[in-house]
């Protein structure tokens, strides 16, 4: 696709992402900004609030099939999950159990828990995880989309890996502790958060796809995310039983052992047998996916 015709997912805000993701005009927001469900914790701290508390939730259609959609606003407090923000997402998954949509689509753009809200934020994110798993347990697939500036870290990194499958762009990042946190705790020799190329090689979408954490790697383009969501929606609902979980656990254990000495995404690409690891960060999604195809990374979920 010509770069001129791209509409960047990274640059779009939560509402623009939803508008480009679902069927035109089909989105109906729930608990929207006009209801002014703002954070009581930020107000107590005398900090700016947002009328939607940094997350947009609602229902829509994709290819005419009903879906529920949530999108985090990365620019508002780093997309962090506060009490109201988390409750809106939890409510979305509880609604899914009642309305039984074809899928729940979650556009993640978050550093994790909103630390200003302390225990309320932690509880909110754990309730969100519980609600997500309850929806999945009832056979409703949950697909995560990661391509915003905040990536998916902390509690939202965990939420991402609770999804049935993830779509990522290279710009999107996925991890538990963010680069700055690792550097602060373990020192700059462990991880240099200022080395942006290193950060993206370690946490970015291409490595996550190579390791099987992400099911699809797409260019930073709203239409590409939409196409990927349609691809996932067209697949049969993934079966999750105890045997599949045990197999995933075994695969992850083997993966951790295999790459235990890796210091960089380059080490992992080399170990996977990719011919010229240094050029991988420069490839567009189509070339990267062609290169990766013979390896067919397992999509552990």
């Amino acid at each position: 696709m010509s770069r001129l015709h791209r509409h960047s997912w990274f640059e779009a805000d939560a509402r623009a992402r939803i508008a480009g993701l679902v069927d035109a005009g089909s989105f109906r927001e729930l608990c929207g900004p006009h209801e002014r469900l703002t954070s009581p914790h930020l107000a107590v701290l005398d900090l700016p609030v947002a009328f939607d508390d940094g997350v947009v939730v609602g229902e829509a259609t994709l290819d005419g099939r009903p879906v529920l959609v949530g999108a985090q606003q990365g620019e508002f407090n780093g997309g962090a999950v506060g009490e109201i923000h988390g409750a809106k997402l939890r409510g979305l998954f509880e609604r899914a159990r009642r309305t039984r949509p074809a899928a729940v689509l979650l556009a993640i753009d978050s550093g994790g828990v909103r630390l200003h809200e302390a225990n309320a934020g932690l509880i909110a994110i754990s309730e969100l995880m519980r609600a997500l798993l309850a929806a999945r347990a009832e056979g409703i697939p949950v697909y995560g989309l990661i391509g915003g500036s905040c990536g998916a870290f902390g509690g939202m990194g965990i939420v991402a890996r609770l999804c049935d499958a993830l779509v990522m762009s290279e710009e999107g990042r996925l991890g538990l502790s963010g680069p700055e946190v690792i550097e602060t705790v373990k020192g700059v020799d462990e991880f240099d958060s200022k080395d942006r190329a290193l950060v993206w090689r370690v946490t970015g979408g291409k490595l996550r796809r190579s390791l099987g954490d992400a099911a699809l790697l797409v260019d930073d383009d709203v239409a590409a995310f939409r196409d990927a969501a349609r691809t996932l929606l067209a697949r049969p609902v993934p079966a999750r039983d105890l045997a599949a979980l045990a197999a995933d656990q075994q695969a992850l254990t083997q993966r951790a052992a295999r790459h235990a000495d890796a210091r960089d995404g380059l080490d992992i690409w080399r170990a996977l047998g990719l011919p010229d690891p240094a050029v991988i960060p420069m490839l567009d999604a189509a070339d990267f996916n062609r290169l990766l195809a013979p390896l067919s990374p397992t999509e552990a979920a």
Binding site: P48, A50, F51, Q73, E75
Partner: protein, 104 residues
């Protein structure tokens, strides 16, 4: 946070009864503007919540300019601001109010 409300005269907006819009995101140097139906057809009700203290005169000048440029009568604007400059505030006001005029 500094909070204040204003009611400024403005040409009635043809779409005031159906007004419902949100423009912008609350982030450093940026703001959001929520547009709803107001109380009087020839006035624009404005509620400002800003993290920058002591700039009320500047806010009043920027808001008065905006409601003079646009038909904002019959609307209520609510603003959450995280330290946007007057130019950014003015731009967001134009976006929010032009969106209503486009649909008129």
């Amino acid at each position: 946070m500094e909070r204040f409300t204003l009611s400024l005269p403005s040409t009635p907006c043809a779409r005031a009864d159906a007004a419902a819009a949100l423009c912008g995101v609350v982030s450093s140097g940026n703001l959001e503007i929520l547009v709803d139906r107001g109380s009087m057809a020839d006035r624009c009700d404005i509620e400002v919540n800003t993290s920058a203290h002591g700039f009320r005169d500047t806010w009043e000048a920027v808001l008065a300019d905006a409601v003079a440029r646009h038909a904002a009568g019959g609307l209520a604007l609510a603003i959450n601001d995280a330290g946007a400059t007057p130019a950014v505030v003015s731009l967001r006001l134009d976006q929010a109010l032009e969106a209503l005029e486009d649909r008129a």
